[in-house]
Amino acid sequence: MCAALPQALLRVEAMSNSIEIKNLDLRFGSFEVLQDLNLDIGKGEFLVLLGSSGCGKSTLLNCIAGLLDVSAGQIHINGENVTWAEPSERGIGMVFQSYALYPQMTVEGNLSFGLKNAKLPKAEIAQRVKRASEILQIEPLLKRKPAALSGGQRQRVAIGRALVRDVDVFLFDEPLSNLDAKLRADLRVEIKRLHQKLNNTMVYVTHDQIEAMTLADRIAIMRDGKIMQLGTPDEIYGLPMNKYVADFIGSPSMNFIDGSIKNGAFTVDELNLSLAGYEFASGEAVDRSATLGIRPEHVVTGELVSHSPYSIDVEVELIEPTGSDKLIDCQVAGHLFRVRMDGQAQVSVGETLKLGIDPARVSLFDTATEIRL
């Protein structure tokens, strides 16, 4: 944490901000979707908004795009206050989950519609359409109607429609969630390449963790219209700021055990984990009740246990082989505890297993406030 922070600060300062959201409120009638939301997104940054369904991701994106009138607060894009500006005047391009291609126009018509509205000269339009279709490899499709395209091709055209606008900011609202798993992985890579090539700011909404982790420079985890944590994928994964984020990120999710901190050790029932090596956010351990969080993949087994500062014996209750890994269910201090082992590991149900835990890799949360200690 201490090492990561100055670096992150440096980076943010070096880039001027592309999007600044200040004290944003959005209400539908009396229902408050976004509350006092602040978010700065740097130039050329790939920011992913991640959160469960209904937490307000699309709403936030629509506010940035100008498709929803905000109830309070400001939105700045490229240093300009665009709170009252029309979507087309904000210098953004947007890609929708349902593609939203105009069904009665050809692919070419779809790509050029915005440019025609902006009254660009014909030659310029042709040249931009050509460039975008080259980048996205949709040149052979230009004369087709959207109905005659596959899902992946449609999404590419939808991205192309944002591309031709030649804007600094791209907004994506779950662009891949209508595609099958294989295509999703392919297009994910393509979007990443596109970002490296164009180097413009991208705000990307998803509820797929893998997408978020692989694409993002920074991830904003949202819950009920608030940002729970904003950080690099590593920070989000390794140093979750609260229990919600810790639980949300990672699959299978983190194991949680309620207990208390006494004399620099976490204790409950048979567990007595010395916290030497754990970096407290406040700098030192204070005796209190706390929740211990351990990721299934951060527990070691076999020979590695001897190198671990702490070890515990458990009984194997259930084994779920997934091919590359084996997931083991067991009980620690009366809580279900899952451990990820190598796919080749030899274990059987009922066997006693020795688990090694490194306090440097665990997370501790205040039981009441659920904030990281």
């Binding site: 947007m94 929708f96 939203a100 105009y102 519609f113 429609r161 606008r165």
Partner: protein
């Protein structure tokens, strides 16, 4: 598996055999036949009668086909039959009806579709109140407003003219058409509308370039509703126009109900068929689109 594929399969296979003359089918087709007869008989009698001369009609065999086919009643109905004092047949009424129907249909559909689009996509302040009032308007019985509208039309100098009737039809078509268009437009994906806004299209740009091209079915429904409704209207026609500007339905009534001389059944039949021809043609031409549009509009709203 491979061995089994060589053997002939046993037991039920392929399409399930159905008896053509099952009890269900006899009942179904019997009912359909009776209903068809019920509707087709009067039409048959009308056509047959309209092709007979008066002497033959007086024989009284209304179901027998004409012994001598004559088109004279049709010609007379069109151009010579007497409607009250004048004897110009249906032609005047027909052209009046055309002059009433075409502008009313175009006007009411244009306005209602824009209304529906604005209500569905541009959620302006007071949209819901506006919509509620419109829907409420659809349930007010016409009779209540007949006389007040006479006064209004007289005040603005349109009483007795075709223009006045066009105005009345346009206004009375508004609630139901707006509802129809609003429901159709809100069934179109909202993201399409958002994409068009990001692409810089404005109110009219989105309407003409995105919405209208996607709305052929609902426009067809609206055209059919309006053409048949306005063409068949009698009440407004008789109240708001004068003898010079009577629509076809009123002319028809005057021909059929004229009390002078003998009842010329053949002319009456021919006149009635001619009057019904326009809605009939519309149905035949666009029946399929009509059904599709009704179904599409009903999906959401």
């Amino acid at each position: 598996m491979t061995e089994a594929s060589g053997l002939p399969l046993e037991g039920p296979q392929g399409p399930k055999p159905r008896r053509v003359l099952s009890r269900r089918n006899i009942f179904l087709y019997g009912t359909l036949f009776v209903i068809t007869l019920y509707y087709a008989m009067p039409l048959y009698v009308m056509i047959v009668t309209s092709l007979k001369g008066m002497p033959e009609i007086r024989l009284g065999n209304i179901f027998s086909p004409p012994m001598e086919v004559t088109f004279e009643p049709w010609v007379k109905a069109w151009s010579q039959a007497c409607t009250g004092l004048t004897c110009n047949g249906l032609s005047t009424g027909f052209w009046n009806s055309v002059k009433i129907t075409i502008p009313s249909v175009i006007l009411s559909i244009s306005i209602a579709s824009v209304n529906g689009y604005a209500l569905a996509n541009w959620k302006f302040k007071g949209a819901n109140v506006f919509f509620t009032i419109l829907i409420f308007g659809a349930f007010i019985p016409y009779q209540v407003m007949l006389y007040p509208i006479v006064i209004i039309l007289r005040e603005i100098g349109l009483y007795g003219s075709l223009g006045g009737l066009v105005l009345v039809h346009t206004i009375f078509g508004m609630p139901i058409l707006t509802l129809l268009f609003r429901n159709y437009f809100s069934s179109l994906p909202e993201e399409l509308f958002k994409a068009a806004r990001v692409d810089g299209a404005k109110f009219w740009g989105i309407y003409f370039r995105i919405m209208v091209p996607m709305s052929l079915p609902i426009f067809t429904v609206a055209v059919i509703l309006q053409v048949t409704g306005i063409w068949n209207d009698f009440l407004f026609g008789v109240v708001y126009t004068g003898p010079e500007t009577y629509p076809m339905t009123v002319s028809l009534n005057n021909i059929v109900n004229s009390t002078q001389g003998v009842k010329e059944y053949n002319i009456n039949m021919a006149a009635t068929i001619i009057t019904g021809l326009v809605p009939l043609t519309i149905y035949f031409v666009s029946g399929r689109l009509f059904v599709r549009g009704i179904a599409a509009g009903a999906v959401k709203g």
